[in-house]
Symmetry: C2
């Protein structure tokens, strides 16, 4: 019983956003087709050290079925000890035998699967002539999303906004992302500035109030909203969410944890007004953008289908390249 061990460094060398987008798309389609099962998250705590662990498991059925078990940790006393707060591990099992296939660092996989969602949605829903990306947020997810979006549209410019307190971080982000993508990355003076000049917007902040207001957004813009992934979290004006053609990753999750929760609560729309789950569009069972002028919003709360997708990609690439180490568990 051989298990492949993939470190963060190994995974970084294996992943590619073109493939990541492809695997996340497959995950969304499987989710739409009912081939993904995700039981409720197990939440564990060690209050002695302000630590918490979320265990997320999923099975994806299909021609190459997989099972993932992810343990995502946040230990808030770690920084005082010189250690990072967050860490994550993913155990990948063969979905046809139950046997283990791989143990992987899960931190990078999670960033990639989250960023890749913006690539999937932009590819599917943005206008073909989109060239300017507006970013609200300058963290790791924003960096991943910029790279994913750049894979699906020939970007000419990125305008990034972050709160004034993060200005130094934002400058480093602009320099790194500009160098990586080989395009101009400008720091926007305001959210409105970043959004108004953009054809494609990605929001990726921990905000709990609307940052992107309806009147900031030009007709024809596509927005991928990533930050809202829990009750109370919000980045988009509820009127914007309600007034756009709205796509979601999972209705059941978005109505309690995504942007969708706010217009529903305010009575601005009902669940029937959600245009489609993104997997339905990818599977050809629902339309995407219907005019060049409409605003499209993708409400991305994050799904186990993406986790399985990226874990499968890393594993399959590692097998092909014989990367990582292989250990025998028998």
């Amino acid at each position: 019983m051989k298990v492949r061990v993939l470190s963060a460094r190994t995974i970084a060398g294996l992943l590619d956003f073109g493939e990541a987008i492809d695997y996340v798309e497959r995950g969304y389609v499987a989710l739409f087709e009912g081939r993904v099962q995700t039981p409720p998250i197990q939440h564990l705590e060690n209050p002695d050290v302000h630590g918490e662990i979320d265990v997320k498991s999923a099975v994806m059925r299909g021609s190459t079925p997989y099972v993932t078990v992810k343990a995502a940790c946040g230990f808030y006393d770690n920084p005082a000890r010189g250690l990072p707060t967050g860490s994550a591990m993913v155990l990948l099992l063969d979905g046809s035998t139950g046997f283990p296939l791989a143990l992987m660092d899960g931190w990078l996989l999670t960033s990639w699967r989250t960023g890749a969602a913006a690539g999937v949605a932009t590819n599917l829903l943005a206008r073909a002539d989109a060239r300017i990306l507006g970013l609200v947020g300058c963290g790791e997810i924003a960096a991943m999303a910029a790279r994913a979006v750049a894979r699906v549209r020939p970007l000419e410019r990125v305008a990034v906004w972050a709160p004034p307190a993060d200005l130094d971080l934002c400058r480093r982000f602009a320099a790194t992302t500009g160098a990586d993508l080989g395009i101009e990355v400008v720091i926007a003076a305001s959210v409105a500035d970043a959004v108004h000049q953009a054809d494609v917007v990605v929001t990726a902040t921990p905000s709990r109030e609307a940052l992107v207001m309806l009147d900031m957004v030009r007709p024809g813009t596509h927005i991928t909203a990533i930050g809202a992934d829990g009750p109370g979290k919000q980045e988009l004006d509820a009127r914007l969410t309600a007034g756009s053609r709205l796509f979601v990753d999972m209705v059941s999750q978005c109505r309690v944890a995504g942007e969708l929760q706010h217009p529903l609560r305010e009575g601005l729309m009902t669940e029937a007004d959600v245009h489609a789950e993104i997997g339905a569009v990818l599977a050809g069972a629902a339309t995407g953008r219907e005019s060049a002028d409409e605003i499209t919003v993708f409400d991305s709360t994050g799904t186990a289908a993406q986790d399985i997708g990226l874990a499968a990609l890393a594993f399959e690439r590692a097998l092909k390249m014989d990367a990582g180490s292989e250990v025998d568990l028998a």
Copy 2:
């Protein structure tokens, strides 16, 4: 971020029943003291291949806190492909940082932690002069339990009973166990024969009806009942369970999944008649056996505290002996 990988073979060479009993005792005490948290099991299925996966997680707080995430698989199409049905993996995390410590084969750990429970209970509750072990069942758990009991009482004889269909298996069991323990292992003609001659009884079958009846048991006997670990499962006569001094691993679990469910349902006792959780006895907060004549029963349904105990033992022993392989996940 170094992770130790422990194969089944490595673990087999590391474990020792004396230590396993010690670590399971610590687990029971932690459970009693409220230092173990176990969220509900995640149950996943891949019906395409008759596969199911149970994900069990737990955190144990204390001076050396640990987190375990166990994926236990049963894939019922495996035998037709020449593969074993069951497999299990355990991921051990450092409960003070969330960082991964080890990936281990979980199958052997589970057998050991289950068998060790019989050692803990026998040590605590059997008469000091107990010399004869009666076993009902001849599977892997019975084998482990026999070894654990042999560590806490100087056994002179084991009498094992199994259903007639398992006679060949039972003969092999008797030969192997006899050789391992260096004592006589006889095959009993009936459950009554195995139980009546015994000072200590362990039941470890998948039975769904009472096998050990009240009138088979001599005064002063201690019984550890392991098989009943789910609704409807039963090995002991409900009158026996109700009429003994009853110890349990977890009341909340035993009342729905253990022997306790049956006398409760039949109105033969109430939960208040349970003498104590075994952790309370180990912690000195409750009495154990109170007379040489009484019958004691330990209703063992299996707890995450035992899983953490055995995983911690395997990891700590591996560190000390530098056993297994170490891989870097950074």
